[in-house]
């Protein structure tokens, strides 16, 4: 027999639930706590990781999954022994880049960079720890750098060693407080004491995980080589036209480079490292999935504990209201009506807890996004998840108390004074 409660019974149950929750605020608060903690954890983590995912995706898609780099040392080194071993490798050179440009059919763009940091000054104003990179012209395409003011140096200017540079917006902010990008074109700044003329200002890249990516000065590759050349190996950047060719291009580059280094087939070490964002994305995904599972663990534990607390409180509530239950049955409440009343009460507590948890979760995510500088992506689905989870907890932990209430006989219940 289908059980369809009338609206008046549902409404009465809801009214009762609210009344009984309001009449015992401290108890209600404690009951809510477990649920709030659980749902807060779920919501905060889902929201934060959504935000991180989107910044990380944005940051990496500048390069797309079509580019990789060839360098002496891998981007991620985990031990000192590795560092020493990688340092013994031959430097990656411009000749390698030239060979790749010539021999690798699947490579669309081949660029070179030489990377370091330096002290950038304009008069007395200084920008410390700026990233200083010498870039070949291809690099501006490969890394998707766009200019908001000024122009890039020409191939001719680059080769002839003209001291021109492209600066990031942080440099403009730090060295020329309050001046517009246009007004700084043609100004002379010093990088580690060497004068360079600003020929362009790049569009900002924004922040990733709180770190600005606009504190840079790009100079022509040749000029960079003059500054760092003696100190370090260069990095070759390769871009394919279509991401489908990505792996093939990597293999082509690997065999060309091994050839140039006269590596035997049996030699395990290439003598150079090929890196792409996949490596970062892998590390990132490992880290976030760890956080994910840890938080889900915390959430599940607090929801289970919260559920047990709710069940306990509901049992107390049923015991306290034995007389009331008896009276309701005496005037015609069915077992299902009493069951419904206590289920609604239990679900109301957990849903209120869930709703609060959704808000505190978003609040927590907001704080963290503010501190770490990633966008706050509030997804309605996480709110839905939080509320659904608390609904389910309410159903589960309310069912036994509600069932035992519904089974009380009217006379036993009413005698209970």
């Amino acid at each position: 027999m289908a059980f369809v409660p009338s609206f008046s019974i549902v409404y009465e149950s809801f009214r009762l639930a609210v009344g009984s929750l309001r009449s015992n605020k401290l108890r209600t608060m404690l009951t809510l706590l477990g649920i709030i903690v659980g749902v807060t954890a779920v919501i905060a983590v889902v929201t934060i990781i959504n935000g991180l995912d989107s910044t990380v995706a944005d940051a990496f898609s500048a390069q797309g999954s079509t580019a990789f780099s060839v360098s002496k040392r891998p981007l991620v080194i985990t031990s000192r022994e590795d560092f020493i071993r990688f340092n013994k490798r031959k430097d990656v050179t411009e000749q390698d880049a030239e060979a790749l440009g010539r021999l690798c059919d699947t490579c669309w763009r081949v660029g070179t960079s030489i990377n370091g940091t330096g002290l950038v000054k304009y008069g007395e104003n200084r920008a410390e720890n700026a990233s200083v990179r010498g870039l070949s012209l291809e690099m501006f395409d490969i890394e998707n750098v766009s200019l908001q003011a000024g122009r890039l140096w020409t191939d001719q200017e680059g080769r002839s060693g003209r001291p021109l540079c492209v600066v990031g917006t942080d440099i403009v902010d730090n060295l020329f407080e309050g001046r517009s990008p246009y007004s700084v074109i043609g100004q002379e700044i010093r990088i580690d004491g060497i004068p360079f003329t600003i020929s362009a200002v790049a569009e900002p890249f924004g922040k990733v995980l709180g770190f600005s990516r606009d504190n840079f000065v790009y100079v022509p590759f040749e000029a960079g080589q003059r500054m760092f050349g003696s100190r370090d190996s260069i990095v070759i950047h390769v871009q394919v036209r279509d991401s489908a060719l990505f792996e093939t291009a990597k293999d082509d580059v690997r065999s060309i480079m091994r050839n140039r280094r006269k590596k035997e087939f049996s030699d395990k070490d290439d003598g150079f490292s090929i890196d792409s964002q996949d490596a970062f994305i892998g590390i990132y995904q490992n880290a976030t999935s760890g956080i994910y599972f840890a938080t889900i663990g915390v959430a599940v534990i607090s929801l289970v504990v919260g559920g047990i607390v709710v069940m306990n409180i509901m049992l107390v509530s049923v015991t306290e209201r034995t007389k009331e239950i008896g009276l309701r049955k005496a005037v015609g409440a069915k077992q299902s009506d009493i069951l419904l009343q206590f289920m609604i009460e239990s679900v109301t507590v957990t849903m209120v807890g869930g709703a609060i948890g959704v808000f505190t979760g978003y609040g927590l995510a907001y704080l963290l996004s503010f501190v770490l500088g990633f966008p706050l992506l509030i997804s309605p689905s996480s709110a839905f998840l939080g509320v659904t989870v608390s609904f389910v907890v309410g159903m589960i932990s309310g069912s036994y108390p509600a069932w035992s209430a519904s089974r009380l006989s009217p006379i036993d219940a009413m005698r209970n004074e």
Partner: protein, 242 residues
Amino acid sequence: MENIDTNGNGLSHPYNSLIKMRGIWKTYQMGNEQLHALRDVSFDVRRGEYLAIIGPSGSGKSTLMNLIGCLDTPTKGEYWINGEQVAKMTDDELARIRNKEIGFVFQTFNLLARATALHNVELPLIYAGIGSSERHEKAVDALKSVELGDRVTHRPNELSGGQRQRVAIARALVNHPSILLADEPTGALDTHTSAEIMNLFEKLHEEGNTIIVVTHETEVAERAHRIISIRDGEIEKDEKTR
């Protein structure tokens, strides 16, 4: 004695019995001792009867009322209401009978302490699934009929004992039950209000309702048309008075 013919007019044919009890026992186990609150009680009540149950305190009157009202189950014996055996009814059927057929005025009122008089009276209507505006109207009417029209928003602790009793009566009447069971309905009332309530019962009886009243007071018992006396859980006397 299969059919107790109390008035000799032949109307006590089994199919006319609204209430039919046969060999009813209610026994409480108190430690090692057995306490028989009711012993082998048998009687019939026809539709439209006005019956008083009298007897000394502790004789089993409330126990019997609880059984008639389907709130309790006998230890032994059989009970039919409207020709249906109560022991065989499902919980939902019992709930329906308590809701629609029976109005119960409890000896200890049994009002919801936190609810207003109005809400207390509305309670049976809620479980009858009646919508809020009709419910409100009916509950107010019932409260007016016990002269509490100006006390609808009062809670039980804001009412006098007699007013509480009248709220309990209003609640019993609000769903227009065919059987009104009242356990000491005038116990807490002054003679004037008591007379009002008795007039109300008489009116309900004239409208064809069946009324069973437990009482100590001879004036109340004398308004009934039949009196059952109970002593030590047994029917001592069952006589028609009008």
